[in-house]
């Protein structure tokens, strides 16, 4: 465990060096996209409607935390494979889980500015009344890791970095539209109300709304539990069952 922690710290530090190359564009990518999304939704149906504004804000936060992390991870692994650069990590005595967690944590750290900007904008510009509770931090953490395995799966199984990029973007769209992220569950078509139960972003968005707007409830604990279970199971599957060696 001590080795894993040390490896994680050094891998994460190495991941953060990438800020040296394109910190401005990372910031724009992670912050601007969810921010614009939020404004679009607010202008479309949120004005004068506190609930729609809440969904616009929390949906954008969920988008930045989960989907953007998945996109970054999938595209990063795909691109490493493209350059044969993944070999560097594959030939080091580090666990796959540590590698995935370090890469995902980098994405989470990069999404912090976006999280703050959206939250501050929601409160000050959109006049959204928020009263965060103590579980906001664990919700943010578990949300950030929830789709990591999915991103890794796409990254490893895509034949090229370009395919990984396209596949993650398709999946990103599905993750946002197939779950009550920007809309309430009742606003979704009938069949999506059922399938949404299998989509992690459903629980991320719901947990974020609960953690930002009121006291801790059993339902919030349940959502966190579901996300933890999904995240653990999916990471276990990717690290243990997926053959990370090149097959082609």
């Amino acid at each position: 465990m001590r080795k894993q922690c040390r490896d994680f710290a050094w891998l994460l530090l190495g991941e953060l060096y990438s800020l040296r190359l394109a910190w401005f564009w990372y910031l724009v990518h992670m912050a601007l996209s969810p921010l614009l999304n939020m404004f679009l939704l607010y202008m479309y149906g949120g004005r004068g409607n506190p609930q729609a504004t809440l969904f616009a804000v929390t949906g954008s936060l969920a988008q930045g935390l989960t989907v953007a992390s998945m996109l970054t991870l999938g595209q990063n692994i795909g691109s490493l494979k493209d350059q044969n650069a993944y070999e560097h990590y594959a030939t080091l005595p580090i666990s796959r889980l540590t590698f995935l967690l370090a890469t995902t944590t980098r994405s989470m750290i990069f999404s912090v500015p976006s999280f703050i900007v959206i939250l501050v904008t929601g409160v000050t510009v959109l006049r959204l009344p928020l009263s965060p509770n103590a579980l906001l931090v664990p919700v943010v953490l578990v949300a950030g890791y929830s789709l990591a395995a999915l991103g890794a799966f796409i990254g490893f199984y895509s034949p090229t970095g370009q395919v990984a990029s396209l596949a993650t973007q398709v999946l990103a769209g599905l993750m946002s539209t197939m779950a009550p992220v920007y809309l309430t569950l009742e606003q979704l078509p009938q069949f999506l109300r059922v399938t949404a139960l299998a989509v992690p972003t459903t629980y991320v968005a719901r947990a974020l709304r609960a953690a930002l707007t009121g006291p801790v409830t059993p339902a919030l604990w349940t959502d966190i539990g579901i996300l933890l279970a999904f995240t653990s199971a999916s990471l276990w599957l990717v690290t243990k069952k997926v053959d990370w060696r090149g097959q082609r």
Binding site: Y17, A85, A90, T91, I94, G246
Partner: protein
């Protein structure tokens, strides 16, 4: 540092075949190979011969279509994650750590290979000093030339004190002075620490100075395996004397009629003979021409490159090696 002894081989490769799908390209076909503890093993072959595919399977980066690879007795195919504990691998494409500085590339790799941070810093500084990288040690990899990036990545692969090194084209893009330092360092690792080195290259002339055993791969198959001496003897038991005569001397009149002679250009001859005739041939040349009229001469045996060219599909250009050898 070769330790053939009764010890088990470091690597045991049996019947390894690799077929790339969907085109069904056979990159390796039924390869058998043993790599012994402490040897410098050369894997030679033309581009696309299947060398990199083979070592990637040995490093646990590719799964063989069939066959078995054992590393210190462990099944690499079933347990590829055990390989990094014993093997340091350097691949042909190296731009993984683009945002790291040269010093960070070495330091991070050493730490992730399990060295204590203080030890990793020490190893990093030693390598930077030894290879005169002080001037670029603080620069980001992406901002460096291709050769500098490769050098940093190669040195990173030498950290961590692994008992086995697999180096795929390690000196590509490096300048001659750096290449010399790299070969010297590898030789020291082999002699001093008993590191087993598997060297993939098509720079046969350079590698000839360090390899103790060689496999030549062509079209996915091992077409020759042995020590350089054994392979050279298999290719040709002949020697040649290359003679350059001073201007103004009638070289054609002196050497044109010597059996096995081949006129290369004005004043230059190559005379081939069987190995056991070398003494006699040298004597004949000196007697006929005289030392005073000889500008230069040398006795040459087949090189590993001649072996390489002979065993691969590129054999045609060296046919002149044998030209003129009677009964060889």
């Amino acid at each position: 540092m070769l330790d053939h002894g009764a010890s088990n081989p470091v690597y045991m490769v049996r019947g390894v075949t690799k077929v790339y799908l969907p085109a069904r390209v056979q990159a390796n076909i039924d390869i058998d190979l043993d790599i012994h503890r402490g040897e410098v093993f050369g894997l030679f072959g033309p581009n696309g011969a299947g060398k990199t595919t083979l070592v990637k399977q040995m490093a646990g980066l590719l799964k063989p279509t069939s066959g078995q690879i054992r590393l210190f007795g462990r099944d690499v195919v079933a347990d590829p994650q055990s390989v990094p504990h014993f093997v340091s691998y350097y691949g042909q494409k190296v731009l993984a750590l683009r945002a790291h500085t040269v010093r960070e590339v070495l330091l991070h790799t050493a730490v992730l290979r399990g060295l204590a941070v203080a030890e990793a810093r020490k190893v990093t500084s030693e390598l930077i000093d030894r290879f005169n990288l002080g001037a670029i040690a603080g620069r980001i990899m992406l901002k460096l030339s291709g050769g500098q990036q490769r050098q940093a990545a190669l040195l990173a692969s030498l950290t961590g004190h692994r008992p086995v090194l697999i180096l795929d084209e390690p000196t590509n893009e490096l300048d001659p002075a750096v290449r010399r330092k790299i070969w010297d360092y590898l030789w020291e690792l082999n002699q001093g620490q008993g590191t087993t080195i598997i060297l993939v290259t098509h720079n046969v002339l350079e590698a000839e100075q360090v390899v103790e055993r060689v496999a030549i791969i062509d079209s996915g198959r091992v077409v020759a395996l042995g020590t350089p001496g054994e392979l050279k003897a298999e290719v040709d038991a002949s020697v040649r004397v290359e003679v350059r005569i001073k201007p103004g001397v009638d070289a054609d009149g002196l050497l044109g009629s010597v059996p096995g002679s081949l006129r290369l250009r004005e004043g230059q001859y190559r005379i081939a003979a069987r190995r056991e005739q070398a003494d006699e041939l040298l004597g004949t040349v000196i007697r006929l021409v005289g030392l005073a009229r000889l500008d230069d001469f040398r006795l040459v045996t087949p090189s590993l490159e001649d072996v390489y060219l002979r065993y691969t599909a590129q054999s045609a250009p060296v046919s002149s090696w044998n030209k003129g050898v009677s009964g060889g």
